[in-house]
Structures are given as structure tokens and as C-alpha cells.
Subunit: 210 residues, 2 copies
């Protein structure tokens, strides 16, 4: 993963900010207006000093003696992360996993809209998903340009992942959430985040050994 603009906030802090945001959103839903670093840290599963340090990387939002304004803080974090407005994304590869991700509501809930899906075999893909958004790979460029797409979810087989990643970079996608179990080679301006379910399980397997 590469960072372009502000190199100052640690990668891990960014990750935790997303977690804080999730917690803050729940608090807001529950009508809670103010929260201390201690309570929020507990909800997020981190130490309170770490939470405060993470926040000071990009500003000062708290009131001493009182805590943080839930709604203000969640606004600041989502501004920073770039999710304060709905972001359009595409999904490439409508196999088992891809079809499931198309129906997954979690993305929409957190501010991402899957505006289109692509597959090498549109007919087959349509059998797996009732979604009307499925297009041939050749349509990628026009859809990306039309919607101003910057991010893609890549759920194609590992054998074609690199090739499709190249195409994505070529049509102007700069962020790839990669589900293929391999390390993608991409141009500098493209960031990749990897999700590998088998590796997660394997990891767990190590940690549960006596």
C-alpha cells in the first residue's frame, strides 16, 4: 500500500480510526452525544492513550474534563478517511465470492455503493447473481469514466488476478481491494488492500495451538 498526500499518520492508526468511526456511529444511533477516550477505547478494543494519540495525529477534538463530541468527532474522522460522501466502487469477478459480495449490505452501510459488476463470462455470472449491474470486462473503461470510479473490489480467480489488476490500473482505478490470494504488482499511484480468508484462518490455527 502506498500513501500519496499526507505521509504523517501511521498506517495502523488509520486502520484504528475506521474502528473508532464504526463505534461512534453506533453511539450516535443510540443518541449518545459525548464520550470519553476511555469509554470509546474500550468499545474499540484499544488502550485510551492509543486512541488519544491516534486522534492527535490529525487534530485536537476533545474537551478536557469532558471528552469528545460524538457527532463532531465522527464527522472529522470520516472527512479524513474520505468517506463523508457516498463513494462509488465497482466489483470485478462475479464468482462465488463476488456474487456474495454483491449482496453484502455492509458496504452500502458504510458509505460505498457498488455501481457495477464485471465478469469475463456475463451469462455465467448472471446465473450466480440476479443483479442487473453485471457487464463484460470490456465495458470497464466507460463505466469507470462515467461514474468517476476510483476503487474496485477484485474477486477474480488468482490465475487472472494480475491481468485484471493491470486493466483496472489502466482504466484509472487507484484503489483495489484484492481477494485473490497473491501479491499484485501495481503502479505506484495504485494502492492495494489484501483480504485473504484462508490466511486469516491459518493464522488463527497457529494461535490456538497449545
Amino acid at each position: 500500500m502506498k500513501k500519496s498526500g499526507k505521509p504523517e499518520i501511521p498506517r495502523k492508526a488509520i486502520y484504528r480510526l475506521s474502528i473508532y468511526l464504526r463505534c461512534l456511529q453506533r453511539l450516535k444511533t443510540n443518541g449518545i452525544e459525548t464520550i470519553s477516550s476511555d469509554a470509546l477505547a474500550k468499545a474499540a478494543g484499544v488502550k485510551s492513550t492509543q486512541l488519544r494519540k491516534d486522534l492527535t495525529y490529525f487534530g485536537q477534538f476533545g474537551t478536557r474534563g469532558l471528552g469528545y463530541d460524538v457527532s463532531q468527532l465522527s464527522g472529522m474522522i470520516s472527512d479524513l478517511l474520505g468517506t463523508s460522501s457516498l463513494q462509488p466502487v465497482i466489483l470485478v469477478g462475479v464468482g462465488n465470492l463476488g456474487a456474495a459480495l454483491l449482496t453484502y449490505r455492509g458496504f452500502q452501510e458504510e458509505g460505498f455503493e457498488v455501481v457495477a459488476a464485471f465478469d469475463a463470462d456475463v451469462a455465467e455470472a448472471r446465473k450466480r447473481s440476479k443483479s442487473k449491474k453485471i457487464h463484460a470486462l470490456s465495458k470497464m473503461r466507460s463505466v469507470v469514466q462515467q461514474h468517476g470510479i476510483r476503487m474496485a473490489i477484485l474477486a477474480v480467480p488468482v490465475t487472472v488476478a494480475q491481468e485484471v489488476a493491470n486493466q483496472l490500473a489502466d482504466v484509472g482505478v487507484v484503489g483495489i481491494l484484492n481477494f485473490a490470494p497473491m501479491v499484485l504488482q501495481v503502479p505506484d499511484e495504485v494502492s492495494v488492500s489484501n483480504v485473504n480468508l484462508a490466511i486469516e484462518l491459518e493464522n488463527l490455527s497457529y494461535f490456538i495451538q497449545d
Copy 2:
């Protein structure tokens, strides 16, 4: 995540060992018998010194001037990770995501077998998945005991995730791969690995800002 037995290998090194294992398996399939730390590191997307350091945390497997024996090294790593024999796991929560994970072949390919799935509403779950493995939550204990299950994939709604996690811990599961977007509270002997797709996307969103 908690570690019980060997505290000496860094968490991050364990994660990378899984990646190396994936690469080694591919090499083995392609009939390659020997590989240098440099080449393997490149395939895994890390520096070669890091790879060598990671390996020395649990032994010495290379031949100077030559490199590593692909098949021997992959054997050593999967022994360490505890995936050298097929591991039975259960899946809890057959909603959108859960149903998809049931059809996902990646787990089987990496040495995990989903032997049973559970849902609060078996009838509804059966509509989403043709799998014959779907049971009521109440059957968890007997299945876990019968198959000697130690790991579970948790894909239930966030509202019931903690409750189901408690049940899992109660019936003797010690490893949970958690897809619910929240921090689970579990007993010390239970390890949790979190996968949060929305957070991954959100993260990416930060890194692609100009």
C-alpha cells in the same frame, strides 16, 4: 488475539509465514524444487532479509549458496502453523455472507473443512444455501464435541455476535474468525481474528486521496 504456547515468534512473522506457504505451494505445483530467499521474498512481496529472519524464528532450513528446498520448507511452515492435517471448522450464521463462505472453495484448498453450519433460523438458512450441513444453534455442542472442532467462522449479524461468541466459547471453540463489525469479548483461552470488509475499503479510501 492471544497466544498460548510459544510467545517467541512475532505476530506479523506468523502472518507472513502463511503468505510464504501460499507461494511455496504454488512453486511445488509448478515442479520447482529449490528457491532462494530473494526469489521467494519477491513472490511474497517482502524483503529477502525479512524472509530469512522470519524463518530463523523457528529453525534453519536453507543451504548456503543454494537456497531452500521448496517441499521441505512448506512442510515445516505448515507444521508450525498447525495446518499440516485437514482441520475441521464450523460456520455460524448462514446469511448472505455466511452462505457465500459455505460455497467458498478457498478454505478447503488451504486445509480447512467446514463440517457443519449453524443458524438461528434453519428454514431460512436452507433457502439461502443448498448445503446439507445446516443445523440449529442448539446442536453446536454435540457437533463440536463429536468432530473435535476448535475453530469457528462467525458470520452472524452484529446484534447477536457477542451472544453467539459466548456460546462458542462455552462449547469449547478456541479460535473465532469474526466477520461481525465489532470487538468481541472472549475468555483468555479464545483467540479472535477479525475480518471487516467495510473497514478495509474505508482504509483504501484514505490511501487513494491525493
